[in-house]
């Protein structure tokens, strides 16, 4: 099997982004990227981090939430890619290469946003490796995400070379899968091990991050897959069509449902607890915020209800809408998770008599916008030059009915 697939010509169907549409979108995304980065850099070089609305009382704001969103979406995409590449769910082959590519560029975008948030980004490059503070989860975050990035790149180069099932490709795939688990699990522990921040303190936070990460990864995958084909299913390979009307929407629905379950149990625990640093976050911050409630209801509950219907969940327009809603809903989740852990003032007495308030500044929004637009730019370049729709010939040429057999 391994050698038989190696060297076979990869197959792609019509990619809408390789034509004028791709160039048009690329120009728009590049303009947004340049403007947002330019504005952000101008603010950072002239006024520094005073242009952020964070403070010593609430040090982590939207740029951290953006990084968290991107890092976990990347991990989610990596985990989805492992379905065919590690666990043998062959019906997912049509999205595997796009998944790996998206995981790579989304992580790059997240890392760059984080870099602009730090006080001394270039110092980080030598200070972390040379000081080997193995007690710090943030040290391991650097190690694991660097490995994750490396394995994603390696895996992508294998797929780009048409090596789908060679021994090395399998081994790199497994290494990448483990790298993703370690990176995102450790990222969860950066928050989950902070017993002095009870809203975050949770030994099972890695599971919550895996689950929500895969959900946001799935939302990105669905959206970008349709975008690549100009939102027209008939341009897609039958195997991809079968996936998008079979296993994938079912998995997407289950993931949104699981995410809602996680949020519900966290909310119930928080509301039940007498601990003000948990309880007040839910009552006076999260559920008191119309935006949080809207994100929860429109960004997760509504998509879940819609995706429960077998006829609706297989429709392209519904899937794209759900992907966009979940995309935004989970971004809000990340934001409220990061900020929620800090809104109860910590040891400040009456200097801070109420919950801390935080609204991102224009510079912080610029960094978020830069992350998103960079993602789009890299993605569009990838679609243009890297044939992200590749899949093994057996899958590409198999009858659609055959590939539909079995579900994830």
């Amino acid at each position: 099997m391994s050698s038989s697939m190696k060297g076979m010509t990869p197959r792609t169907h019509d990619n809408a982004l390789q034509g004028p549409l791709g160039w048009g979108l690329l120009v728009i995304a590049a303009v947004v990227m340049v403007v947002s980065l330019g504005f952000g850099l101008y603010q950072l070089t002239t006024t520094g981090h005073t242009s952020f609305n964070t403070s010593s009382n609430l040090p982590w704001g939207q740029p951290i939430a953006t990084y968290l969103y991107f890092a976990l979406a990347s991990s989610g995409l990596g985990l989805i890619a492992s379905l065919p590449l590690v666990f043998g769910f062959k019906q997912y082959y049509p999205v595997a290469k796009r998944c790996i590519f998206l995981a790579f560029i989304v992580l790059i975008s997240g890392m760059l946003v984080l870099a602009l948030e730090l006080g001394h980004v270039f110092r980080m490059l030598w200070a972390i490796p040379l000081n080997l503070q193995v007690q710090s989860a943030m040290f391991w975050m650097g190690v694991f995400y660097a490995l994750d990035l490396l394995f994603l790149l390696w895996k992508f180069s294998k797929l780009q070379g048409g090596e789908w099932d060679s021994r090395t490709a399998k081994q790199v795939g497994i290494a990448s899968f483990i790298g993703v688990l370690l990176a995102s699990g450790n990222l969860a522990l950066i928050f989950g091990m902070m017993s002095m921040r009870p809203f975050w303190f949770d030994a099972l936070l890695p599971i919550y991050f895996y689950f929500t990460g895969v959900t946001s990864g799935m939302a990105a995958l669905v959206f970008f897959t349709y975008l690549a084909h100009g939102f027209q299913r008939d341009r897609m390979n039958p195997a991809l069509q079968a996936l998008l009307t079979g296993a994938m929407p079912k998995l997407f629905a289950a993931l949104i449902g699981g995410t809602l379950l996680f949020i519900t149990v966290r909310a119930i625990t928080g509301l039940y607890s007498n601990h003000p640093e948990i309880n007040l976050v839910w009552t006076d911050y999260l559920f008191a915020s119309p935006l949080y409630n809207a994100a929860l209801l429109l960004g997760l509950l509504l998509p879940f209800v819609v995706m429960l219907s077998a006829s609706l969940r297989n429709r392209m327009d519904v899937q794209v809408l759900v992907a966009c809603l979940v995309f935004l809903g989970l971004f809000a989740e990340r934001f409220y998770f990061v900020v929620g852990g800090q809104v109860v003032p910590l040891f400040k007495g009456t200097w801070e008599p109420g919950l801390l308030s935080y609204t991102p500044s224009a510079t912080e929004w610029a960094l978020t916008l830069f992350g998103w637009s960079l993602c789009f730019v890299l993605y569009l370049l990838g679609e243009k030059f890297l044939t992200l729709g590749d899949m093994p010939r057996q899958i590409a040429e198999a009858p659609a009915a055959g590939t539909q057999a079995g579900t994830a």
């Binding site: 520094g48 981090h49 005073t50 952020f52 609305n53 964070t54 403070s55 010593s56 009382n57 040090p59 982590w60 730090l118 006080g119 001394h120 980004v121 110092r123 980080m124 200070a127 972390i128 000081n131 503070q133 007690q135 710090s136 989860a137 943030m138 040290f139 975050m141 650097g142 950066i190 902070m194 017993s195 002095m196 921040r197 003000p276 640093e277 007040l280 006076d284 852990g341 800090q342 109860v344 003032p345 910590l346 040891f347 400040k348 007495g349 009456t350 200097w351 008599p353 109420g354 919950l355």
Partner: protein, 253 residues
Amino acid sequence: MAKWGMVIDLDKCTGCQACTTACSMENNTLPGESWQDVLFYNAGEYPSAQMKWLPRPCMQCENPSCVHVCPTRATYKDPDAGGIVFVDWNKCIGCKYCMIACPYGVRFYSDEKPLIEPDIRDAYPGENGQLWSPPYQNPEEDWRRGIGIQPKGVVSKCTFCYHKVKHAPEGIADLDEDNPEVKEYVPACVRTCAPKARYFGDLDNPESQVNRLIGDKHGVRLKDHTGNKPQVYYLGAGAGVPAFTPADRENDA
């Protein structure tokens, strides 16, 4: 080597905040960057309402969570400097994880919006890498220990006035401002305390006054459940922190 510790007697403390002012002048901190602060708390309600207060320096914890989380070892506990927790401004990358991990909220990232206008950093723009450069400065700058005026993009904190304490004679049990021989080595907040509510000495020396006070007057450490084991002890009634209640909900409590 000594293990420097502080004892604060809340039955004597008047909440005058002279310690906060002295610290700010000694260490050239910005408004709001209160390495030493006095926290005020309202607890209970009429007819048993209380107003409590407690001075809050860095606790220089024996088991400091800020040190564990720092990815570059910029934050470190120096056993050769009396167990004081320092920030090496040459290594700090400004990730602010230590500020998240400190249960006592004693760390500051001064590259933030000014607490009051006009911004004093604009009045005295930074020179030689400093965030701001006022005309009077502590001459004993030591960026490796976070002493002096910090550069941009790093975290700052109380150093127990190590630039003074380090000159203390070897083996001394207490640094008492009433002792003319050592008064110059006493941390600014201790030296300025008018009601003499603060004591500073060697927690490893059985003869020290700080040890006697902790033993005889039931010294407690704040938020001891965190396991951080502060080297700052409190005496007297009021050595506890009420649970957080938003000001507009105090009557619901």
